[in-house]
Amino acid sequence: MFTKLSQLGVLGMNARIGSYMLPHNKRADYPSVDDKVITAERAEALGIPVPENYAILETFGSLKKLPDILAKYSAFVIKPARGAMGNGIMVITEHSGSVFTRADGRKENIEAIRYHISYILSGFYSINGYSDKAIVQYKIQTHRALEPVAFGGVPDVRVIVHKGFPVMAMMRLPTKKSAGRANLHQGGIGVGIDMLTGTATQGVDGTRSIRMHPDTGKNLGGIRIPEWQKILHLSVMGYELSGLGYLGADIVLDDEKGPLMLELNARPGLAIQLANMIGLRKRLSLFEKEDPAGISPEQRVQKALEIISTHQ
């Protein structure tokens, strides 16, 4: 059975770490993606559009000013700067007076938010347990084209970028089970995307193949993702930003602002293979001899699409 997986070019956890992350990702480059504050700063410097950070809270003392900070915004997201796998993210969709409404409809008061931020600052959601910063961020407005398949949250597009070339992509959709989060291990669903056209193929819920969104019942296959070329372009810029040779770029589509780079991930998950039903190692191996040096991001996107189309 291992042989079958191997023939199909499925990438396993050990190979992801041993053959891709360890050789291609320098440890020194990790902070640029593990800390979302640094990612945002670098992105701005490179002219990559990102969601606006309203405020960055670094100390417990700054929690006193929290009501003033939040007063201006009716919707926002609070997330740890160094969080992992979508943990510790609080989405407030509505804010009137002292009542904050979360994405799942729960009502909270300012104390609950303060408590949540103090947890973030103590490093509880932090990838390595050290103390952390909390980010108050612009809440993405789901693009109207994706509205039918977005349940209670914002979909995003995950692109695996190897040596600066886009290799494989999927769309991640929030569900009732994932409570508005698009992370697959929390119950979000993954949808495979044809790299050449940006059209959705089929979905995966956990390890199960699906054709329809479990909550909205809408067909997943055939959805065309708007501004696909721009999404690919933004993803490969992740290589310029971080220097990581194996990364996952998370791009969100804002209804107003278009594609924004939400975050980069140095340890992208393997579920993307199930969403596409294509082995990732097989894809990655097409790029074994490619060298990104001296090639512009646009050219890399074009080259990658050529390589993928010739091997399909």
Partner: protein, 531 residues
């Protein structure tokens, strides 16, 4: 894996194997110190009344055999000299010289006793050829009423045509089952025994000897110690002398004990001291002296360590100067535990990287296994569950107070410590288990475990949390199983270079980029697909 990695792996394994081989085959040190289970310090103290005459006082001492191995002997004659003589009836020590004061002379011996099952050869009754054989067939002079009583018993239990094989068994069953033990008085006459159907061990042994010999089976009485609690006379370890028998079948002496019903079997409680002596007076051949025999069990580990240290010193090799056995004993016991931790890591590495089992924390399962080993598995398991359960409940209550994270964690930590204290106090009262050392209880890890457990339940749901929990417990259980292999502990403690082999294993697993077993489940959709 590249060549260089294989080379490193090979070198590591080579170093370990060649060091062990060098020590064992070239220096000739035992592979691991032998583990002696049943070690006793036996002291034969002869109390001497003053006398102006020069004299010789003989006393029995334990004899080396396939059941008894003598480790060490010491003596203190207070000026009298000791000679040791091997006689057909046992080894005898003899103090000789003058003793004008009341003194106690000591002869101390450390020995290990093993149990033994004897195989019965085909019963061949020897022709009464040699003088010795004749002796073992000669029935002592008995009073007419003794003979009458014995004949009566024989009439009851032995049919006239019975074979010697059956006869000896019948006699054995009769004396073991029908005659009750009564050591409160002496039983000089066999007729007395037959009348009361009661006897002490000497009486039973004498009766057996007489009855066996009357059937033509060579038999002798054996005297010594039966190291059972009920034979102990005082807290200092003085034991009463006990007696059993040996019958000669096919030229082999086979033990029979009619006191505890052992036929062709001696447990590790039997320590024979002398043979073929029927009355206590002749054990110690001096009227003005008395013999006191005490036996005390030795903490075996310590004893073999002493032995092994001697072995190490004898090699006079610099390599042996660095043995862990030369550390103080209490430090050694710590290292015996520490040195096993990497084996826990091997289990962990295999389960996480090759099988793909999820766990809480990285080393928590190993620490848990250490704790289980300290407390025993079942108890440790329930104790840990109870602490985590209580802590989890507390966390649930604390959550409502919305405390900052570190103070919140600190409260749980304090609660874990308090629970340990409360348990330790109750344990002293209730004696749930003998020695409770919370030292190895992973307090901080448990605290973090409780917190992560709570958070994970909220964030990732019951299914994922339970998967990690079950994974952690499975790994902890298997690790506990490995920690419990005493031989492994001895091997690694004696040869810490085995840890190089572990590093080699870690390199190999570290370079493994194949699939995890769990990925067969995760990517099963691919398995259904056409290749």
């Amino acid at each position: 894996m590249k060549k260089i990695h294989w080379l490193i792996v090979f070198i590591l394994i080579f170093i370990a194997v060649s060091l062990i081989a060098y020590k064992t085959f070239i220096l000739g040190v035992s592979f691991i110190p032998r583990e002696e289970k049943n070690l006793w310090n036996v002291e034969l103290a002869v109390r001497v009344q003053p006398s102006t005459k020069s004299r010789k006082i003989g006393f029995p001492i334990p004899r080396q055999s396939d059941r008894i191995s003598i480790k060490n002997t010491q003596y203190d004659g207070k000026g009298m000299s000791l000679t040791i003589e091997k006689t057909p009836d046992g080894v005898r020590g003899q103090w000789s010289g003058k003793m004008s004061e009341k003194r106690t002379l000591y002869y101390r011996v450390s020995l290990a006793i093993k149990e033994k099952h004897y195989t019965l050869p085909a019963l061949e009754l020897p022709e009464p050829k040699g003088a010795r054989t004749k002796e073992f067939l000669t029935v002592e002079d008995l009073e007419p009423e003794d003979i009458k009583a014995i004949k009566k018993i024989e009439g009851e239990i032995l049919s006239p045509s019975i074979s010697p094989q059956r006869a000896i068994k019948e006699i054995f069953y009769f004396i073991y089952e029908e005659i009750l033990i009564n050591s409160r008085r002496q039983w000089k006459n066999l007729s007395d025994i037959a009348e009361h159907l009661e006897a002490d061990s000497l009486g039973k042994a004498r009766l057996f000897t007489v009855m066996a010999r009357r059937q033509g089976i060579p038999c002798r009485t054996v005297g010594g110690l039966i190291l059972r609690p009920e034979k102990k006379l005082d807290e200092k370890g003085r034991y009463e002398l006990s007696y059993w028998n040996e019958i000669n079948i096919g030229g082999k002496w086979i033990p029979v004990c009619t006191s505890y019903g052992n036929f062709a079997y001696l447990s590790d409680e039997y320590l024979p001291l002398f043979w073929n002596i029927n009355n206590t007076e002749t054990i110690l051949n001096d009227e003005n002296a008395s013999l006191r025999i005490t036996a005390n069990r030795v903490d075996s580990a310590e004893f073999t360590i002493q032995e092994y240290r001697k072995e190490l010193r004898r090699t006079k090799s610099w390599l042996m100067e660095y043995s862990l056995y030369l550390l103080p004993i209490h430090v050694q016991s710590v290292f015996r535990v520490l040195i096993l931790i990497p084996f826990g890591a091997v289990v962990l590495v295999i389960f996480r990287n090759i099988i793909g089992v999820k766990t809480f924390g990285i080393f928590l399962p190993v620490l848990l296994a250490l704790f289980f080993q300290e407390t025993g598995f079942l108890f440790g398991f329930f104790f840990f569950s109870a602490i985590v359960g209580t802590g989890f409940l507390l966390r649930f209550l604390l959550k409502k107070m919305q405390l900052l994270a570190i103070p919140h964690l600190s409260i749980i930590l304090t609660a874990v410590v308090m629970m340990l204290c409360i348990f330790a106090v109750f344990n002293r009262e209730l004696r749930i288990f003998r020695e409770f050392t919370p030292a190895l209880f992973p307090i901080v890890i448990t605290t973090i475990f409780i917190e992560r457990f709570g958070l994970m339940l909220e964030e990732e749901g019951l299914q994922n949390t339970l998967a990690s929990l079950i994974g952690s417990i499975i790994i902890a259980t298997i690790t506990y199983g490995i920690f419990s292999i005493r031989t492994l502990q001895s091997v690694v403690f004696t040869h810490p270079e085995t840890l190089f082999i572990l590093i080699a294993i870690f390199i190999m697993v570290g370079k493994y980029t194949g699939y995890r077993v769990s990925e067969l489940v995760r990517f099963r959709a691919f398995l259904k697909k056409e290749a």
